[in-house]
């Protein structure tokens, strides 16, 4: 993968492209924020009623004057448009206000929870990648057809089993029966293992599915046949020539994988009594805690956008074919952000690279 000297035009094109992607990203963030705000306001209920409603089958009879006073305190008595502008302005400055349910500053809540979920998610991602690669490689290498079929059916099973069930099963045997791991929360690797494994299973299934399919395509490519014809073994070809190319589509899926882990944390953190973003999300949705919901969605959207941009930057470095296509398309036409990817592609114009890559991968 040698690259020629980088010309100034290429750098300029590249910056243009990056600037476009950043703008797109900001648009996505704004859209996510606005959508959640609108949805929350369409819900037929009142967070203040929920705040004072008690628990179980109990709920206090609302005293309208007292409720109005509380709405005022949280700024919920203003016109929705004003509330929206207010919330948006504060959010741009990184201030998401005070949680209605807990009374804590939202950024502080998210900050506390983020470290926990990041550790759990990173560990789960690691386990998921190892398992996923293992299954895909084993399925590609095995000469036994039934075994290959079995391995290839694992991903479907992996995404089908509900996480809460897997989690309960693991707690039951590895924590309560065998006592190897703590059943609740717990710090360090020991406390992280069971929830991370639970969270890793759908991730592994996802990785295995994509990689196995991509490996099958790659192994059928003419250049592999050439290598094989020169006398290289199947395993040798797989590891030295096919794997690197076949793994590229996975990179475009990083956003999806991280998204799945974030979504999975809602269930896993509840089952394992852990603190984290998922748990906060669950509680906030139940209590219709608007500031927290807005912050969580904005955070998740930010993660998606940043990952997308990072992938866009990395991909051409790993696959020069894509890099040249981007440069060509940028210099050939003006940016046309917002158009459907397929249309943009067929017109030979600008398109985000990960969309180009998805097409080349499929």
């Amino acid at each position: 993968m040698t690259r020629g000297p980088v010309s100034t035009t290429a750098v300029r094109d590249w910056l243009w492209f990056l600037g476009g992607r950043l703008l797109q990203g900001l648009f996505v963030l704004w859209a996510a924020f606005t959508l959640v705000f609108v949805v929350v306001y369409l819900l037929p209920s009142d967070p203040i009623r929920l705040m004072v409603s008690g628990s179980g089958t109990e709920f206090a009879n609302a005293d309208d004057a007292a409720l109005d006073e509380l709405r005022k305190q949280y700024g919920l008595d203003q016109h929705p448009v004003l509330q929206y502008l207010h919330a948006l302005g504060d959010a741009v400055r990184g201030d998401f206000g005070i949680s209605i349910q807990t009374g804590r500053p939202v950024t502080e809540m998210i900050g506390d929870a983020l470290a926990e979920t990041a550790a759990l998610g990173a560990f789960a991602l690691l386990i998921g990648l190892v398992l996923g690669f293992g299954v895909a490689l084993a399925a590609t290498l095995t000469p036994l057809r039934p075994l290959r079929q079995l391995l290839l059916s694992l991903p479907a099973a992996g995404v089908s089993v509900p996480s809460f069930w897997v989690g309960l099963l693991l707690i039951q045997y590895f924590a309560f029966e065998l006592g190897w791991f703590p059943p609740l929360g717990g710090k360090g690797i020991n406390g992280l293992t069971l929830p991370a494994v639970t969270l890793a299973i759908p991730t592994a299934a996802f990785v295995a599915q994509i990689l196995a399919k991509s490996l099958a395509t790659t192994m059928a490519e003419p250049y592999i046949e050439v290598v094989r014809a020169k006398g290289a073994s199947r395993a040798h070809t797989l590891f030295t020539d096919a794997l690197r190319n076949a793994a590229l589509p996975l990179l475009t899926m990083v956003g999806m994988i991280v998204g799945n882990i974030l979504a999975g944390s809602v269930v896993v953190e509840t089952v394992f009594s852990r603190m984290g973003l998922g748990r906060i999300t669950y509680e906030a949705v139940n209590a219709q805690d608007i500031p927290v919901m807005l912050a969580v969605v904005t955070f998740a959207a930010t993660v998606f956008v940043l990952l997308g941009i990072v992938v866009d930057i990395l991909y051409p470095l790993l696959d020069p074919r894509i890099g040249s296509r981007v440069r060509r398309s940028v210099s050939a036409g003006k940016p046309a952000a917002g158009k459907p990817a397929a249309a943009a592609l067929s017109a030979g114009k600008f398109a985000p690279v990960h969309q180009v890559a998805e097409r080349t991968a499929s």
């Binding site: 209920s45 109990e58 009879n61 309560f176 006592g179 609740l184 603190m275």
Partner: protein, 535 residues
């Protein structure tokens, strides 16, 4: 031990397969499980609680599980006998109430201090009542107990006079609740949000060490504590050195944590696990909640349900015995009034809550609802179809059963599972037929929560003599007068079937055999003051 293992495994299977165990009647006396001999001090009690406390200020919280925690931390001016509801001394040693229940004079205990060193005296009592009053809507229960509060006057260092603009006969009972627990004067200077996060000091037998949201609450023993309520079984400091509440939201994990010895006490025991826990040597202690029974709040303003005959037909169309046998445990009490039998001033009105399907059919015929082609009654081309909004996230099988039973008398009951938010909104807007409900309070004043038309009247009741009865009970300083007013109110509600009544609510805690001395306080709260661990 081997046997225990096997049972554990079996429980795991049953839990994971979501198999509901049918209840076999072995109504063990809960108090028989636990250590024998004299209590020994020391040890750390670990508790698995199902709900994040969210706000650890006794005055602000409305969550039952949170009140359970704060009962250990904060004392009240008075306590109530869990059996009779009789008000007994605590931080106040004596009290005098005037004839129309508007002026309350208290003599206060001396020698009481808060955990931050402040002294409990008349000024502190005034700071407490003014402080709760200032919380307004932030303290929903507590502020409703203080409605029409005019102020507190310090008559002497150990004497205060509390005045109301309107009669408040349930005030003494209100003072015994956790929501009206006393915090130190300087605590009331802090913003309510900070109090929620644990910056409180009180005079209880335990001190709140810290609260980590969604994770844990830790309490430590208050050294030198010497002022327990008259309900306590011993004097002096609490036995336990430390109490750790772990938040375990998932019921299966909570039960598993108890079985594996991770914790010694859990709350919110799933019904299907009670008998299995008992069978494997764990104690299950339960209590019937005082206050209103589990009921379907009924929209008396809806076109169909405004007809009393229809409401009565539904009341008589529910087979509560079958309901208990199918979806409850034998220990549950069926509704015999709108108030549960553990509420002070309760009287049996079961003659209005009986199961009589023939009478139901007769009433519906009389009201003009004739049997339609599919068995559901019809009137003027309209089906007798009603909806219950289940916003509690559980208990769906109980609604299915009621729907089956009502079908037998030609009434269709549609069950809509909604969010809690949607359910509350429906009550406000009046867009509902039935909303399941039950309000726990160890005083018949629980009735004022929804049955008065003077507030926002979610039942859409027309003004009636019921309002008068509810006002009379609030104004009656003498127990005999109050009894008459409460009986009138409860009779009116049951006789006219203003709500559909099911069963008394009940809460259960389960504990290991090493834990003794658990004591129920009124309002279905647990006190850990007398609790001790065998080691």
């Amino acid at each position: 031990m081997a046997r225990k293992r096997r049972i554990e495994r079996w429980v795991a299977v049953s839990m994971l397969a979501a198999l509901t165990l049918s209840a076999c009647s072995s109504d063990n006396d809960a108090s028989s499980i636990g250590p024998t001999g004299d209590p020994v001090p020391g040890g750390t009690l670990k508790i698995g609680t199902g709900a994040d406390p969210i706000c650890v200020d006794p005055n602000q919280t409305d969550l039952t599980a949170t009140r359970d925690i704060l009962r250990q931390v904060a004392d009240s001016l008075v306590d109530a006998d869990p059996e009779t509801g009789e008000i007994v001394p605590w931080l106040a040693t004596e009290w005098v109430v005037n004839d129309d229940a508007t002026v309350f004079e208290f003599g206060l205990r001396s020698g009481v201090t808060f955990s931050n060193g402040e002294v409990f005296d008349g000024a502190a009592a005034k700071a407490f009542l003014d402080g709760v009053d200032a919380l307004g809507g932030r303290a929903f229960n507590a502020s409703s107990y203080l409605q029409d509060y005019a102020g507190t006057e310090v008559l002497a260092p150990d004497r205060v006079k509390v005045t109301f603009d309107q009669p408040n006969a349930s005030f003494l009972q209100a003072l015994s609740t956790v929501n009206m627990a006393v915090l130190s004067p300087s605590t009331y200077q802090l913003p309510p949000e900070q109090r929620c996060l644990g910056q409180i000091s009180a005079s209880g037998a335990f001190v709140l060490d810290h609260y980590t949201p969604t994770q844990e609450v830790v309490l430590t023993k208050r050294a030198g504590y010497a002022w327990p309520s008259a309900n306590a079984q011993h004097e002096g400091e609490a036995y336990l050195d430390r109490v750790e509440y772990r938040v375990i939201p998932e019921a299966g994990v909570r039960v598993g944590s108890l079985r594996s010895g991770e914790v010694d006490l859990i709350n919110q025991v799933p019904q299907q696990d009670e008998d299995v826990l008992k069978a494997s040597g764990f104690g299950v202690t339960s209590t019937n909640n005082p206050g209103t029974v589990f009921e379907y709040l009924t929209n008396n303003g809806s076109p169909i349900l405004s007809d009393e005959r229809v409401r009565k037909a539904i009341q008589f169309g529910i087979d509560r015995e079958e309901y208990r046998a199918t979806v409850l445990l034998p220990r549950y009490n069926l509704a015999t009034s709108v108030l549960s039998s553990t509420t002070p001033h309760y009287t049996d009105f079961s003659q209005y809550i009986k199961y009589e399907p023939e009478e139901s059919k007769r009433l519906l015929d009389e009201a003009g609802w004739q049997e339609g082609p599919d068995g559901i009654r019809v009137k003027d081309g309209k089906r007798l179809s009603l909806t219950v909004l289940n916003g509690h996230g559980s208990g769906s099988d109980s609604y299915e059963l009621v729907a089956q039973q009502l079908r037998r008398i030609g009434v269709e009951l549609i069950i809509r599972t909604v969010s809690r938010a949607e359910m509350l909104a429906a009550l406000d807007s009046g867009q509902y037929d039935f909303v399941p409900y039950g309000f726990t309070r160890a005083d018949p004043a629980a009735l004022t929560m929804h049955f008065t038309t003077k507030r926002n009247n979610p039942l859409r009741l027309p003004p009636s003599e019921l309002d008068t009865y509810l006002e009379q009970q609030a104004a009656a300083a003498r127990p005999e007068d109050r009894q008459v007013a409460i009986d009138n109110a409860a009779r009116y509600i049951t006789e006219h079937a203003l709500v559909i009544l099911l069963h008394e609510q009940s809460v259960a805690h389960a504990h290991s055999d090493a834990l003794g001395g658990l004591r129920w306080e009124p309002g279905a709260q647990v006190s850990l003051y007398d609790a001790w661990l065998q080691r």
